[in-house]
Symmetry: C2
DNA sequence: ATGAAAGCGCTAACAA
DNA sequence: TTGTTAGCGCTTTCAT
């Protein structure tokens, strides 16, 4: 059976389009007509066509979200939070994946813009402002999470990656570590570079040299983190590994288990973004945590502010991170 | 600046609506006009309004997906797979969460149906056919993953939960275990009951009684799994725990770590759905795995078949699971 | 409280 | 190749 339209309702009830429309949008009807209409709606299984409605009203109460991959639990936790909060405010979230692929991400943005979302939340994989020229044409507010790119027309919420990284490495050094390998994620250029910057700064502050840097880069896959960790453990004399994001932390832990490496006796380990990891792995990992709840709350709050402002003024927010001391770093002084 | 429409393009170029539309949909133009049009599109930042287009074409090349929560890695892995496969075929996936809340799930279905998705993939949380009466009105193909509900008008892809559960418990019993606690998830009624059925059957086949059942039910949260596991470990003399889904498995492992319980010396453990768990936890968990890749491939294949069939005939598919023997079950014979 | 008519931005005949 | 026209299903004046 074909989908029923408002016109079918009119035919059934003898009412006019205008009347039916008004009722559907909360208007009043004479009791008799109301009953007839309700009945017709029920019988014909009528459902408003949001495409037709959206064409006129121009508001969809919908926000588009682009994440990297659903199985990145760090991002999924944030998105899930954001989705719940939006839902409570009567907004529908639509989630799409980029798969760490910039062109797919851009297509996703276009897809959303063609479909009149009211706002856009993106966990971007691009690295320069040219990647996001499309956003200059967007009439809706755009929010970047976990990345800031100079010159892109959008709000950004990031954490102080550089400072926490500097702090953590400084602390590692104070425990006697000088041979510290850092694993960076190529697919997250912004955070990776900030974290590397902190690493370098801690080295500098402690009188260490550039020759002391031990920098490894992976792409966003657990296997890739695993492989690099293996290389570090088996082929170098590093006393500590700093896995500087969620995926690489999982990869490193995976390797530690596989090779039965004693932590922190054989090597010290510092991770990033504890989603489930310290619940599942022993000894308890020393790890840096980003404030997921704060990020998602701020994202939603700012989104609604931007939605209501006439001339939007985009800001960048910097949230603080936390170093959680576990049992995976040895004092080798 | 207001969004440009096709009419604006006409004004700019002197061409007519029909011509512009045809070009936008792959038609040919005289070189001169093509250039003018391309230029106008660029200058005005024109983008097709899919709402207006969809109103006419009635096809959106979009499939709506409703999962439970993004942070359920088992489901997220499947969805992520499905999304990638759909994307490769030129279809856009829209993902929404139910949060294990039936009414939110139904609202999600309505949302999708009002927006003309071409098909629907759902990981349902309902338990009876009355919950899904709305699907009787759906003109688009619907696919349930990980759940089968008698009488609901949809395709279903499930795995043989009962058989693998029976097999695993039978194996546990053969290792000398008689005091086996099973943790079931209330929020996943279908799989929980099938798995419980397998548990009971194994008991029966081994001459054990109903009094021997040790059944615990949780809701879909890691904390809930943790709490029940604690109860089993500290208040009962169970020799084995069967965590019968992903979330409860994580909860159990979490507890084992927290209380420093030796596995399998203190208690034997059997889990379900290994996503990351055996990578992060030691000793290697004995665990039942469902064929994620096969599920997502079958889902996409059937979806396109249903999309092309005139009179859809819904089927139910039963895939096989696998028991992966790790080191968390002791032989106590 | 209800109806008539215009039009949102686009596609799809059909004509030229 | 290009233009004209009707209409997708709805909302929104403006009348009645």
């Amino acid at each position: 059976m074909k989908k029923a339209t408002m016109r079918d309702l009119c035919d059934e009830t003898g009412l006019s389009l205008g009347t039916v429309s008004k009722y559907l949008n909360g208007g009043q009807l004479k009791e008799k007509n109301r009953k007839k209409l309700d009945e017709a709606i029920e019988r014909l299984n009528y459902r408003v066509d949001e495409y037709a409605r959206g064409l006129i009203t121009n508001r969809t109460r919908t926000v588009g979200i682009i994440t990297t991959r659903l199985d990145n639990l760090f991002y999924s936790s944030i998105i899930s939070d954001v989705e719940t909060k939006l839902y409570e405010k009567g907004y529908a979230a639509i989630i799409k994946e980029s798969g760490y692929d910039l062109s797919k991400e851009i297509k996703g943005i276009e897809w959303f813009l063609s479909r009149r979302v009211d706002a856009l939340i993106i966990i971007p994989v691009g690295r320069k402002k040219e990647d996001y020229e499309i956003l200059n044409e967007a009439e809706v507010p755009v929010l970047f999470l976990d990345s800031y790119i100079e010159g892109v027309r959008c709000e950004s919420i990031v954490t102080d990656n550089e400072e926490i990284s500097r702090h953590a490495i400084d602390w590692l050094i104070s425990k006697g570590h000088k041979k510290i390998s850092i694993i960076l994620d190529k697919d997250n250029p912004y955070t990776a570079e900030r974290r590397l910057e902190g690493y370098k700064q801690a080295f500098k502050e402690n009188g260490m040299e550039e020759e002391d840097y031990r920098i490894y880069r992976i792409n966003e896959s657990i296997d890739s983190g695993y492989a690099v960790a293996k290389q570090i453990v088996t082929e170098t004399d590093s006393t500590a590994i700093f896995a500087s994001n969620y995926i690489s932390t999982v990869g490193v832990v995976y390797l530690l288990n596989e090779l039965d490496i004693r932590v922190p006796e054989d090597i010290s380990v510092l991770g990033f973004d504890d989603i489930l990891i310290t619940s599942l792995y022993r000894p308890k990992l020393t790890i840096i945590n980003q404030p997921i709840e704060k990020i998602s709350q701020l994202a939603v709050d700012r989104l609604f502010e931007l939605l209501s402002e006439e001339n939007k003024e985009y800001k960048t927010h910097l949230l603080e991170n936390e170093l959680i001391i576990g049992k995976t770093v040895a004092d080798i002084n």
